[in-house]
């Protein structure tokens, strides 16, 4: 929508406002200039979340834990799904911590624009921050959940070893990029087609069964695993299991496929968002 003609100087920034067409740019420069606002938006999300809930931090642990308590008897016991040699509850719980982060971040990113339609119609700030802020603020929850998960694993008799654990931030970064890209795209779509918000929960549910949350990747035929890993959550979840439970490490090709796919989804979603941004406020 706008181009910075010149930055700084006595008169401050100079903007050219005109109709824009063609391929959008991500405009990282502008995002960087406004990073302090991004910080505030994340801080707001976190503060509001913890101000409103009685249980606060407990929720971030209770959600994956409760889901595990449902999954373990059904998938682990009744269906007898293998769990790569670790107890099924631990196997599911680790995956669910990563999945809960991803699903939560994706869901709130998708709804973010509709929820904040009023503000973006009244003041300009980089709109990409709207879906990105919940993706970033949810990371804190996951950090807490992971911190509380380790004692649980120890109780279950599984002591994670130190070096692989250090890969967790990178794995969550992959999940965050995916949630950010897909979430930004869905947020823009939801603003255009209001009934998209009913599609998102189905998408998330379908995505969960397309990810190795309740079953191990080892069930997949060897030859299809890289293709399967184009779903970034495959690499993320298998990576988390390796880091926390000591299951066999996902191959480099699986990790590369997941990370590469996450990067593509991030840029594609963000670019679509930037393209949709041109008519965003007209639709809001």
């Amino acid at each position: 929508m706008t181009t910075a003609l010149r930055e700084g100087g006595a008169t401050g920034p100079v903007w050219e406002i005109r109709s824009e067409s063609g391929v959008p740019s991500l405009n990282f420069g502008e995002l960087w200039d406004c990073r302090s606002l991004f910080g505030f938006l994340i801080w707001r999300d976190i503060k509001v979340r913890y101000a409103q809930t009685l249980l606060g931090v407990a929720w971030v642990v209770l959600r994956p834990l409760a889901t595990m308590l449902i999954f373990a008897p059904i998938f682990g016991r009744l269906a007898g799904i293998p769990s790569d040699g670790v107890p099924y509850p631990a196997f599911a719980l680790v995956a669910l911590v990563a999945w809960t982060y991803f699903a939560g971040a994706l869901g709130s990113a998708s709804n973010s624009l509709i929820e904040q339609a009023e503000v973006i119609g009244k003041v300009y700030y980089p709109r990409l921050f709207v879906p990105l802020a919940p993706v970033a603020s949810d990371l804190l929850d996951s950090g807490v959940a992971l911190g509380l998960l380790v004692p649980v694993l120890v109780v279950l008799g599984l002591v994670p070893s130190a070096p692989p654990i250090l890969s967790l931030p990178l794995l969550f970064l992959v999940a965050a990029c995916t949630a950010a890209g897909v979430g930004a795209g869905l947020a823009a779509l939801t603003l255009r087609y209001r009934d998209f918000r009913y599609v998102v929960p189905f998408l998330i549910q379908g995505w969960m069964f397309a990810s190795p949350v309740v079953y191990p990747t080892s069930l997949m035929p060897e030859g299809y695993r890289v293709l399967y890993a184009l779903n970034p959550m495959v690499g993320v979840i298998e990576g988390c299991r390796w880091a926390l439970l000591g299951t066999p490490a996902p191959g480099a090709s699986v990790l590369a496929a997941s990370a590469g796919s996450a990067a593509v989804l991030f840029f594609a979603g963000a670019l679509y968002f930037r393209w949709a941004e041109r008519t965003m406020v007209d639709l809001a």
Partner: protein, 420 residues
């Protein structure tokens, strides 16, 4: 110093779908359905059908060019729907123009509403930081001005309270205090003065005056013509998205007040504003109980306002204000300060009759501005200068003498008693 804002041929087009919806498909289901039947439609289309089927388009802003110099306070005047807000949104980068271009030099602070970005769950202190950041301040700037902002707002004692517990007055004061301390080169201000009580409005005007005095460039939209006159030297008048007058503020105000295409209607209809929960549908001016645009001196005035609402209402809050042809407010009334009957069974539509009695206006042109709202939802529909009328001479007091126009605005019927 070069111009702060240069606009060249700015235009904004909105496409209007059938059925009055602003956009053609609002839902995916609709879009898919349409895509599915499109080939069938194309086969069956007769020549001449297409424009009707596609609905129309509206130019909210068209061919707008002007310049605002550094340190200038520039006013934008126009009736509801003239394109003022759209123009401000283009210049603040909120919406993209369909054509034309504008160059804006400097940091822009946009104030299209008070409390942009406020979060109800957060405390006053948190919201100062949050709203400040959204309006474009850095953390260090906000921290530096924090005490000033708090002092200006006068809500020191409630800084730790979530703003959802604030009274609407406190909320406005805090929100405006943040905005007033925005250190932008260019301030873009829309109607923020229209909310709040008289004291708050005075404070706002003072803040604007200070901003202007400090050499800021201000772009100012208001229905308050007196405020525009006192703050601005240059202005433009928008009508149907186009600039119809540009230059000296007095000439602009004169032009705006003279040039009202539908000024002589005793009854006007209104469209529902997008997103409004309660709105006026129609207003009529009656003189001695007959619809009128010419009012004889000394006859009674009545204003009837019909409304509709999304939800049932016990009391629609209505108000009017009469202004003369220079835009100076003469008198006003509403049922917020004064008791009025309620609907025993809440209604979704109805008519409010405001009987003003005999208003001792002198000969001249007058305009009635109207507002109707639901205070509990902070929702109101305001139409400035909705009804225009002329007061014409009559020997109202039976003396054979008629007070002359220009002596004063009101001729006050007085009881005279003599004593020796």
């Amino acid at each position: 110093m070069s111009a702060r804002i240069v606009a060249e041929g700015l235009g904004k087009r909105y496409v209007i779908g059938r059925g009055g919806a602003r956009y053609q498909h609002r839902t995916l289901r609709e879009a898919l359905m349409r895509a599915a039947v499109a080939p069938w439609r194309a086969l069956n289309r007769r020549p001449g059908d297409s424009t009707q089927a596609r609905g129309g388009e509206i130019w909210a802003v068209r061919d707008v060019s002007f310049e605002v110099a550094d340190g200038e306070v520039f006013g934008i005047i126009g009736r509801n729907g003239a394109g003022k807000s759209t123009l401000l949104k283009i210049l603040s980068r909120i919406v993209m123009p369909t054509c034309g271009r504008a160059v804006v030099r400097g940091r822009v602070g946009t104030l299209l509403e008070v409390g942009s970005g406020f979060h109800p769950e957060l405390t006053g202190r948190d919201n100062v930081f949050l709203s400040g950041a959204i309006l474009g301040m850095t953390r260090a700037e906000i921290a530096r001005k924090f005490d000033e902002i708090v002092e200006f707002s006068g809500v020191e004692r409630f800084l730790g309270t979530p703003v959802k517990r604030y009274s609407s007055g406190m909320y406005l004061r805090l929100a405006f205090a943040i905005a007033a301390h925005l250190d932008a080169d260019i301030m873009i201000v829309d109607e923020v003065l229209a909310v709040g009580d008289a004291e708050f409005q005075k404070k706002c005007l003072g803040g604007m005056q200070r901003a202007a005095g400090a050499g800021r460039t201000v772009l100012f939209v208001s229905h308050n013509l007196a405020a525009v006159r006192s703050l601005c030297r240059r202005a433009c008048v928008l009508h149907d998205g186009r600039i119809v007058q540009l230059g000296d503020v007095h000439e602009c105000i004169g032009h705006y007040l003279d040039w009202n295409p539908d000024q002589s209607a005793a009854s006007v209809r209104f469209d529902r504003a997008p997103g409004a929960g309660v709105w006026m549908t129609c207003a009529t001016l009656l003189s001695d109980d007959r619809p009128a645009t010419r009012v004889l001196m000394g006859s009674s005035l009545t204003i009837e306002v019909s409304f509709e609402s999304d939800g049932p209402l016990h009391v629609p809050f209505v108000g009017f204000a009469l202004a003369d042809d220079r835009g100076e407010l003469l008198l006003s009334g509403n049922n917020l300060y004064q008791r009025s009957p309620r609907y025993e069974i809440p209604v979704r539509r109805g008519t409010v009759r405001m009987e003003l009695g005999t208003v001792p206006l002198m000969v001249g042109r007058y305009a009635a501005s109207l507002s109707l709202g639901d205070v509990t939802r902070h929702d109101s529909h305001v139409v400035e200068h909705a009804l225009w009328f002329d007061v014409v001479e009559r020997d109202a007091w039976g003396t054979g003498q008629v007070p002359r126009a220009g002596e004063s605005l009101l001729w006050w019927p007085t009881t005279f008693r003599l004593s020796a």
